[in-house]
C-alpha cells in the first residue's frame, strides 16, 4: 500500500513537472520551432541541413538512413553494441552450461494424435511463410536507402523468421539452422563489420567512419556514392547482429537458458 502512495506522489510530481515544461513548447506541428526551423538569426538548423544536403552529400533519398548510418553513424554503432551487450548479458545470466543430472526440466512436446495434427497444419503454414518473410527481410535491408527500412528493421524481421521456425517446428529444428556457436559469432561479426568499415577509413588516413575515404577502394565516381555504398555495408553488419541477438534472446528466454525443448 505504501508503494501505491509513493507511486502517486512520484507520478503527480513528475507529471506536474513535465506539464509545466510543456506549457511553453512551440505548437505541435510547427515548422518554425527551434528543433525544426532553427534558432532565429543563427542560419540553417542542423535538421534543415540534413534535409537539404543529404542528397548532394550521399545520394541517399531516405534521409533517416543517411543520418542514421553516416552523420550519426557513431551512435548507431553503439546502438548495435547495446544489442550485442544485451545478448551477452542474457547469456551470462540465463545460460545453463552444465546440466546437473543430464535431464532438462521440460518434457518435450507430446506426440499425441491431436498434437501431431496441430503440428502439421502450423508447420506447413510456417514452412510456406518463412521463406517469404526472410525474402521480405532482405528486401527491407537492401531497400533501406530508398524507402523506410534498413538494418534494424530487416534484422528484426529476419530474427523473427527464425523465432517463428522455433515456435512452429520446435527449438531443435531452428537451432539446427542457426546453432549457438553460429549466432554468437554472427552477432560479433556484425559489429565487427560495422566497426571494421569505420576502421578502414582510418587506415586510409581519414577519420573513423568517414566513408568518403573509401572512394578509391570502392571505385565510385564521387565520395557521395562511396558513402552510399558503405552505408549499405554498415546496414548489413547491423542486420547480422540484430538477427542473431533477437534469436538468441528468444531461445534463451523460451528454454530458460538450456537451449533445449523450448515452448
Amino acid at each position: 500500500m505504501a508503494m501505491k502512495w509513493l507511486a502517486l506522489v512520484a507520478v503527480v510530481f513528475t507529471g506536474a513537472l513535465l506539464i509545466y515544461g510543456v506549457s511553453d513548447f512551440p505548437d505541435w506541428g510547427s515548422a518554425d520551432s527551434p528543433a525544426n526551423g532553427g534558432i532565429e538569426g543563427a542560419g540553417r538548423s542542423v535538421s534543415q541541413t540534413f534535409i537539404q544536403e543529404t542528397k548532394p552529400l550521399t545520394h541517399v533519398p531516405n534521409m533517416v538512413t543517411a543520418v542514421l548510418a553516416d552523420y550519426r553513424g557513431y551512435d548507431t554503432m553503439f546502438e548495435t553494441v547495446v544489442v550485442f551487450a544485451a545478448g551477452m548479458a542474457i547469456f551470462a545470466v540465463l545460460r545453463v552450461l552444465k546440466t546437473v543430472d543430464g535431464q532438462h526440466s521440460r518434457v518435450i512436446r507430446d506426440r499425441s494424435v491431436d498434437g501431431d495434427h496441430q503440428r502439421i497444419i502450423v508447420g506447413t503454414t510456417c514452412k510456406i511463410l518463412i521463406p517469404v518473410i526472410q525474402m521480405f527481410a532482405l528486401y527491407v535491408v537492401a531497400h533501406g536507402h530508398h524507402s523506410p527500412g534498413g538494418g534494424f528493421q530487416g534484422g528484426v524481421i529476419l530474427g523473427a523468421s527464425f523465432i517463428l521456425l522455433g515456435l512452429s517446428d520446435g527449438m531443435e529444428t531452428a537451432m539446427e539452422r542457426l546453432s549457438e556457436g553460429k549466432f554468437v559469432a554472427m552477432a560479433a561479426i556484425g559489429v565487427l563489420i560495422y566497426a571494421g568499415i569505420g576502421l578502414l577509413s582510418q587506415f586510409v588516413g581519414r577519420d573513423f567512419l568517414d566513408y568518403g575515404a573509401l572512394q578509391p577502394l570502392l571505385g565510385t565516381p564521387d565520395e557521395g556514392w562511396a558513402r552510399s555504398h558503405a552505408m549499405l555495408g554498415v546496414e548489413v553488419g547491423v542486420t547480422f547482429t540484430v538477427t542473431a541477438i533477437m534469436f538468441a534472446i528468444y531461445v534463451n528466454l523460451a528454454s530458460k537458458g538450456e537451449l533445449k525443448g523450448g515452448l
Binding site: 507511486a7 506549457s23 537539404q52
Partner: protein
C-alpha cells in the same frame, strides 16, 4: 450560479483550445508516461513492472517523434517527382548563396519545410532498440529470479528474502 458555471465552462473551453489543443500530443505523452511510471512503481508483479517500463519508454519516443512533426510535411524520403516539378528554387533567407550545394542540373534546392525532421526519427530508432535490449535482459533476470524464488511477486520475494526461503547456491 448559472453564470458561474457558464464562466467556468468558458474558461475550460478556452484552456483546452489555447493550451491543450496546440500541445495535445505533448499532453498525451505525459499521460502515457505517467501511466507507465505508475505501473513501474505501484505494480508488484515483475512482468507488470516491465510492461510499465516499456510504456514509459514508448511515451518518451512519442514525445520525440511529436517534436519532429511539421504540419504540412511528408515523410523524410526524398521525393524525385515533386522536386523535379518545382518551378523555382527555394532560397532560405539566412543562407549565403555560395554554400548552396549542387543546385544545378538534376534537382533544385530542397524546401526543408516540405519534409519532416529526420533527426528525432533517427534518435528514436536507437531508443527503441535500446528499449527492447533492456526488456530482454530484464526478462532474463526475471526468469533467473523465478528459478531461485519460485515467484515473480515483489512482496513475496521480499518475504522470502527475510525468511531465507529460497534456493541458495553455494
Amino acid at each position: 450560479m448559472v453564470d458561474f458555471i457558464e464562466i467556468f465552462v468558458e474558461r475550460v473551453v478556452h484552456f483546452i483550445e489555447n493550451v491543450v489543443q496546440p500541445h495535445f500530443n505533448y499532453w498525451s505523452y505525459v499521460v502515457l508516461m505517467m501511466i507507465g511510471l505508475w505501473g513501474l512503481i505501484a505494480k508488484r508483479n515483475l512482468i507488470k513492472k516491465l510492461i510499465g517500463l516499456s510504456i514509459f519508454q514508448t511515451a518518451i519516443i512519442l514525445f520525440y517523434v511529436s517534436l519532429g512533426v511539421k504540419a504540412d510535411a511528408t515523410i523524410p524520403v526524398f521525393d524525385y517527382e515533386a522536386e523535379k516539378s518545382k518551378s523555382a528554387a527555394v532560397v532560405l533567407p539566412a543562407e549565403p548563396s555560395e554554400m548552396g550545394g549542387k543546385s544545378d542540373g538534376k534537382y533544385k534546392k530542397i524546401d526543408p519545410d516540405h519534409y519532416a525532421n529526420p533527426l528525432p526519427h533517427v534518435l528514436m530508432l536507437t531508443a527503441i532498440v535500446v528499449g527492447v535490449a533492456t526488456l530482454g535482459v530484464a526478462l532474463a533476470v526475471a526468469q533467473s529470479i523465478f528459478k531461485d524464488f519460485g515467484t515473480l511477486e515483489e512482496h513475496e520475494i521480499l518475504e522470502k528474502i527475510k525468511t531465507g526461503d529460497y534456493v541458495k547456491h553455494d
